[in-house]
């Protein structure tokens, strides 16, 4: 089963990369762009009985390694 883990910086944690991209967008003429934040998506396959079990496995993996909960939030979707 395919699982997709979204990892993003927590609200309030500075994202210098997002800021740099925002500046670049402005210089390209997209003056309205604001609040740019860069996140990470991890796709993976797991062996699981059903979608719920697959999602749980994805969450376990996020907690163990894929996300650092000191600075990042995550959520997991089962892609089918």
């Amino acid at each position: 089963m395919k699982v997709r883990v979204f990892v993003s910086l927590k609200d309030g944690v500075l994202d210098p990369q997002g800021k740099a991209v925002e500046h670049a967008l402005h210089s390209l003429g997209f003056e309205g762009a604001s609040g740019v934040r860069i996140s990470r998506v991890v796709d993976l396959h797991v062996k699981a009985e059903n979608a719920e079990a697959a999602r749980k496995k994805g969450e376990e993996m996020a907690r163990a390694l894929l996300a650092n909960e000191v600075i990042e939030d995550f959520h997991v979707e089962v892609v089918v």
Binding site: L14, P16, K19, L65, N68, V70, I71
Partner: protein
């Protein structure tokens, strides 16, 4: 004193670290490969700088889960001394052996230059080579050195004297918002922290690279003399 230096794939400061210990103790530390599952018989384990596992995912994330880190954690829980410099500090936060995390530098640039540090940690062998409030120069070389932690964690670190080192001017002034002083944007200018039992220390700059006159100075030497005096 028996010192072990952990080498991960991508570690590149292990020899500098070994040389610094050789300078103060005359003894050559043992190199420990990351797949080793014990660190028995050592007094101090050092996690040196570099780019372990290519800094993939997050700096230090992969190394934090390698076999040797389980052993280092057990070692620390039994009261062993652990020092993490640069990537080693990142690994210690990823392993949750030290609080907080190290984000991308606020200015987005890799910083390779000297900085000044103020010694603030109390009751620790990692700061005992200096007097409280001393200022010293240290080289830094990192892309992810922007220390962050929840405000209550920062308060606790400060209240318990567990901020080991802070970025400051050559005169010892701490200026959180000044990018020429607190160059990577660290919360409260924190450059290094201590664990609750004060036996685990992590810092971003590299005192080991200023330990002999031929390197341009001996400003970083007190880190090593302090450790050696304590551990013999």
């Amino acid at each position: 004193m028996k010192t072990g230096i952990v080498v991960f794939p991508g570690t590149n400061r292990e020899r500098d670290m070994a040389q610094a210990f050789r300078v103060v103790s005359g003894k050559t530390p043992q190199m420990l490969w990351h797949q080793q599952d014990n660190v028995d018989g050592l007094d101090l384990v050092v996690l040196p700088g570099g780019f372990s596992f290519g800094d993939y995912l997050r700096s230090g994330a992969m190394a934090a889960h390698s076999p040797i880190m389980k052993a280092v954690r057990r070692f620390a829980e039994k009261g062993g001394y652990v020092l993490g410099v640069c990537n080693g500090f990142q690994i210690l936060t990823e392993a949750q052996m030290l609080p907080g995390a190290l984000l991308r530098n606020a200015g987005m640039r890799f910083l390779s230059q000297d900085c000044h540090l103020k010694v603030e940690g109390r009751d620790s062998i990692f700061t005992s080579g200096w007097n409280h409030g001393d200022v010293f120069r240290a080289p830094m070389a990192h892309g992810d050195g922007n220390y962050t932690a929840a405000p209550d964690v920062l308060d606790r670190l400060e209240g318990e004297g567990r901020v080991a080192f802070r970025y400051c001017t050559a005169e010892g002034h701490v200026k959180d918002g000044d990018e020429h002083v607190n160059m990577n944007g660290s919360a409260r200018s924190i450059a290094g922290v201590l664990s609750e039992n004060r036996r685990v220390c992590g810092l971003m700059p590299h005192p080991e690279n200023l330990t002999e006159e031929i390197l341009g100075g001996t400003d970083g030497l007190p880190l090593f003399t302090g450790i050696m005096e304590a551990l013999g």
